[in-house]
Amino acid sequence: MSTRMFGARIERNVDPKLLRGEGAFVDDIPLPDALHVAFLRSPHARARINSIDTAAAKASSGVVAIYTCDDIGALDVEMPLLIPHPSMTNPQTQRPLARGDVHYVGQTIAMVVAVDRYIAEDAAALIEVDYAPLPVEMDIVKALDDGAPRVHAAIPNNLAAHFVQTSGDPDGAFAAAEHVTKITVQVDRSTAAPMECRAVAARWEAVTGELTVWDGTQAPISVRGGLASVFGLDEDKVRVIAPDVGGGFGQKVLLFYPDELLVPMAAMQLGRPVKYIEDRRENFIGSSQERTQIHTIELAALKSGEVIGLRDFFLHDTGAFIPYGIAVAQVASTSIAGPYRIPNIFVEFKAVYTPTVQVTPYRGCGRPQACFALERAMDQLAQELGLDRFEIRRRNLVADNQFPYAREGLLFADGLKVTLDSGQYGKALAMAATELGAENFAVAQAKALSDGRYLGLGLACYVEGTGLGPYEGGHVKIHPITGKVYVNTGLSTQGQGHDTVFAQIVADQLGVSPQDVIVVEGDTKAFDWGVATFASRAAVVSGNAIHKTAATVRKKVLQAAANMLDADIDSIELRDSAAWIKGSNRFVPLAAIATASNPLRYAFNKAAQAATQFAPASKHDGPPLAEGEAPGLEATDYYSPSQSTWAYGVHGAIVEVDPGLCTVKIKKYVCIHDCGNMINPMLVEGQVMGGIAQGIGGALYEHLDYQSDGNLANASLMDFLVPYATEIPNVSILHLETPSPLNALGVKGVGEAGCIAVGAVIASGVEDALRPFGALRFHQVPLSPTMIADVLERAGH
């Protein structure tokens, strides 16, 4: 294999299995004699629980056990605050089962274990709970008022966190401004809606004292650590496996969901495997959500359009609990100046408790909200200064020679200073303009208008801090019998194609086909140092760890091959799963090198026999394994990034708005993006396109409709409108590849990129399309037909 695999559009290793229906998602794993769990969940957003009567449920046939908070012993505690931060006062975290109070509709109150899920659900319905409902305030602005109904009795004004960050001299900038523009914008509550809901199964082996948990999680190693500490087990006695996982998008990174603790507990107590498979309604009401933020943003500008200062104050809805700390709001606040120089920044937020399920990161993690605020403000500033929307951006983008561009005083979610590492922002903007046909658009727009059609051009730029630390590791081993390469890392995958991109990285180092590189992750018995899959970090952090490790194994292979072929190490090349003396037909297969690198007594196969025909792999006197040497061709190494890598992009669209029906049709969508060097452009495009589709959902359709009593009115896929193929337009994705100077592979993350700018693009386009009706403002997404109708009506149409 002499062709470079890094950068190649190769098909995925994992696909045949998934296509044949041989995937192993949690509920696909056969667990004979498994018992099944259903939860009783609160129908009230806030209430006191006076009493819980489980007698009738317990008496029903097929029910094995029922647990309330009184029955779960040491688990009846508040779950950990995963990411502490001084901006929080008395942070509240969730309990496995409600004690005394309920704080949102969907909160777990009791767990039923039964012979099957049907019986378990029947029994859950038989549990009698006497509630004393309490008043609620669903509006995050009013929730901060003195005297507003409290989500937690101990938390006045429902204020969960308050944080201010400053960069430069914002007051000075506003004093020097020639023009100030100010808007208030809102992005609404949404949810990841992965196609596979969450799932947990557990088996306790009493004989060995081992607990095995299958969990559709993005963070198996962290879950393992948590379970071991909760149950007082050695970490090595707990194995957490995230098998095939049907999408995550952030929702599956939180720990602990109630079931993640209670299912293993029940398996240990009952001596039978226990399984909980979340259903779709539960995913809507019981699994994390994100997005609601209200930003009031001001830009201080010169007449030239140069933005010299930014002030942003925003409210962030954190739901009833804040287990993930302020991560979402912090990412939003540190992304607020986007790709623009804006040297003076003041950004303040308040995180507000609402009686809804907890808010934790959903793909984008605060970036779509920050992008929406900034880009809508830039559009308004352009209009007020009489500048073209492309031009005002051009005048403010960080120039190619200004990298690294640091924002002193702004600390990103990794606790490190925001420093944009590299990019070609201006070129990306120019490419977007060209691809959209921006230059001639006014003509097309005018012509359409003369035919009674309303076309608009929308535009937005974004940056994305990716590849957060603290670290990940890689383990690479060449198998002695087959010559195949096994690779492990501490992540789990939810469809990103880790198994293929990591294989490509290793293939280049070891001269093997990516199909002969087997990546195993998501299993604490395969590799148990690491963090999790989140923050667009897999390619950057695990990718570079695996790259480093593979380079070490490469050195071992070259040395061993040189010894075996009795050649100079510089004359060896690796290709076609073998080591060759360059320019000759002399070679030794990797399998033979791996075999020979492990001092053998028994020639158990052909490779072992063949290996004996060559000189020993290790040249030295003394024992077969020299002091300090390890058998085989294997290494483990780690990569810890010095800071985040910053990807970016420019999105644009041509939309058509029907002012009668108030519908929006996306005629053309363009995405220019740069995630540094691409390991596999086909997979990069897949990630970006998937993000754009979720972004379109967030821009036009997906809105969690909480009623004033705290009930979610659209907790089903029938009513919460995830786009089908019929809602997604053709998209042209163009790449720039500016290598990140921060890591050996020159890569940046891409997982979240696609969704960030879409809301801003669509609102910008709709505003442009409806300009003939006046200077209408679209400052909220998703942009429903009702909202468009309201804006038109207020303008007298």
Partner: protein, 177 residues
């Protein structure tokens, strides 16, 4: 933890049972099942055919699509008892016995038409059902979108699935309408 006496636990639900006899992937199957058992649960947990996935249990997402007498149908909205006498095809029957992918599956692989793979079996069964109908295929962008309009995918953004349908038609020698 200390070894405890293993609790006595019932083996199965006391639900009323019904006999069903049907054909699954060409094989005759006869079982006694709970009267309210969903076809999706029957296929997955009674027969061990876990390739059919369940994404919503209310007939919206299409993950559980199987062929019922050749027509795409939602196994989550069908009771096992209702399938009595019918012929069911699941994803497990699509590739050749040696694992060689069917052209529809091959096209998904070539076009990167899947990411997490959870919706994929339902997508493939729906497409296969439509391809095996006598009516001509509309392979325009809009026609393929319509064909896919009963299946949700949260990962891909659909464009590669649209490309895969077109590629599958090409591999199968299907001519557009």
């Amino acid at each position: 933890m200390t070894r405890m006496i293993k609790p006595a636990i019932a083996d199965r639900s006391a639900d009323a049972q019904v006999e069903v006899a049907l054909t699954v992937n060409g094989e005759a199957v006869r079982r006694s099942v709970s009267v309210r058992l969903l076809l999706s649960d029957f296929l997955r947990h009674e027969l061990g055919l876990t390739g059919t996935h369940v994404g919503c249990e209310h007939g919206v997402c299409g993950c559980c699509t199987v062929l019922i007498d050749g027509k795409p149908g939602r196994s989550c909205l069908t009771l096992a008892a209702q399938a009595n006498g019918y012929s069911i095809r699941t994803i497990e029957s699509v590739a050749a016995a040696d694992g060689t992918l069917h052209p529809v599956q091959q096209a998904f692989k070539e076009c990167h038409g899947l990411q997490c793979g959870y919706c994929t079996p339902g997508m493939v069964m729906n497409i296969l059902g439509r391809f095996e109908e006598k009516e001509p295929l509309d392979l325009s962008d809009d026609g393929i979108r319509e064909l896919l309009s009963g299946n949700l995918c949260r990962c891909t953004g659909y464009l590669n699935i649209i490309a895969a349908v077109r590629r599958a038609a090409e591999l199968l020698g299907k001519t557009p309408a």
